[in-house]
Symmetry: C2
């Protein structure tokens, strides 16, 4: 039997909430699957195969398009919260009762909402290049970068995801090559869908009294990954996430931008694997004081 991978996993469909969700599923079965939540304007083809296939060696990975995005039906809702509710409906429709969730950028915001709304469904959380409700976007260059003209247009993603250093550029070109390997491709995100995503983001970023309070209720072990200089969702937001989530580890990679995990895919896969496989006590419903932190291993004296 040939093992399915990022290039060969067929696009499947499942109905939930009146939406026909497109998804792909591959990797090692038998454990807790990892559900990927995509960034602004991204489809299932926008993930880095080095990351998805890398993580699929030790677990099943599930890619999907949320409502209104690319090959999924329905409309992009007006809030990140509703995107979270749609994602939960999709996961439950697959018959899954426990998943790990990875989210990148807007997908990281959706991942937080999934966890806040369906605590029992989520075992562990990975947040890449993202921020909390009310995120500080004052230094973001997102509007300018997405409004720019690129030749070829695909080079937009070099500006979004990679650092401008020579090795950042080299990593970016290698990523674009990997990204284009799949033949059977998703349709691009419509302008209408992108506009709706942008509106939901604007609402999400709005400053509000106590905006960060919800983070205290996300008790899942969380790995936050960020680049040293994220020009889309400024790096400081990952620090704020770490400081406000009860059980989160933060890793900031050097000389990296929004797509830090695509710049160092082997390192990221190793870090994420260690996090997802470590001997944590997964007490999502326990108060922090009742819960062993991440990781719960207390080693005894070396040599004894």
């Amino acid at each position: 039997m040939i093992q399915l991978n990022h290039q060969t996993a067929p696009t499947q469909f499942i109905e939930a909430n009146g939406i026909r969700f497109a998804y792909r599923r591959f990797g090692k079965t038998g454990g807790v699957p990892l559900v990927f939540n995509q960034h602004f304007r991204g489809t299932m083809d926008y993930w880095d195969p080095a990351v998805t296939d890398g993580l699929a060696s030790n677990r099943e990975v599930i890619l999907f398009n949320n409502a209104g995005v690319s090959s999924s039906s329905g409309e992009v809702p007006a809030s990140i919260q509703e995107m979270g509710a749609n994602a939960i409906a999709f996961i439950k429709a697959l018959g899954l009762t426990k998943v790990d969730v990875l989210g990148f950028s807007i997908g990281g915001m959706v991942a937080q909402e999934i966890t806040a709304q369906a605590t029992d469904l989520v075992r562990r959380l990975i947040l890449v290049g993202t921020g909390p409700r009310g995120a500080d976007m004052s230094t973001s260059r997102s509007a300018e970068i997405f409004a720019g003209a690129y030749d070829p247009p695909e080079h937009l993603w070099l500006a979004v995801h990679f650092s401008p250093s020579p090795s950042g550029r080299a990593a970016g070109f290698a990523f674009l090559k990997r990204k284009l390997l799949r033949k059977d491709r998703d349709p691009e995100v419509s302008e209408e869908a992108a506009t709706a995503q942008r509106e939901a983001l604007t609402k999400y970023y709005a400053p509000a009294e106590g905006a960060l309070n919800y983070l205290k209720e996300i008790r899942q072990p969380t790995l936050i990954v960020q680049g040293s200089n994220d020009v889309i969702v400024p790096t400081v937001n990952s620090y704020v996430l770490q400081q406000n989530l009860p059980n989160a580890e933060l890793i900031v990679y050097p000389d990296a931008n929004h797509g830090s995990f695509y710049q160092y895919p082997e390192l990221f896969v190793s870090d994420a694997d260690q996090f997802l496989s470590s001997a944590l006590q997964d007490g999502a419903n326990l108060r922090p004081s009742e819960r062993l932190p991440f990781p719960s291993v207390v080693v005894s004296a070396a040599g004894t």
Copy 2:
């Protein structure tokens, strides 16, 4: 032949700068040794054997007391800069021309000074629970914690190094047990030496225009490790270090304090091992633009 370890490595002495430096050396020879720089009031016996022996599996580790500390002769100098110069003299006296440097707290400040003063001597740098020149100590509880009374006195180090959660306390007790295993022990740090260390720290923390400029010249691959809530050197200083060092990765562990690496020794050893062993291009003397960042590996498309 029995391999020496944290418990059995004899204390040796070497002269440099008119100082008789006490040191211990053990682990796997043949590569670049890792030199440990200790925290305020600490001696060679204050390192966690789970960390030193853990790292010694893959490299030689060198512990030492800097000038005026414990079994080393001389006086604690009036500045961190001079402590760095003394450490350099010690390393060179051993005949070493290239080392990795780990520093914890005040030792992390000394490690930065070693690197700034002797760039060619240092390959890679690990900074734990520390901060830059002019560090923001506004939320530090250091003075209060070190002035406190503890029964037994050794429990001071629970307050300094570990989080107050049940598992933080448990990790702290396990650490204290490991720390006391060695029989042939260093004398404690004198009040006079501790006062001099405190004075050097006060000078180091003084705000100054351009205080962070020196960090741009530290181009060595650097791993910064910190706890989510360091009550001695506030966590934000590690974020500031990461943002100002040209080639630094930051890891912040959850539910952890000043001694985050003693709370998660297995995780730290794994992270530090990965960092020290990874395929970096160690171009300490190259301009950032000429240098491949950390790590230099650009993976090709998965499956090809």
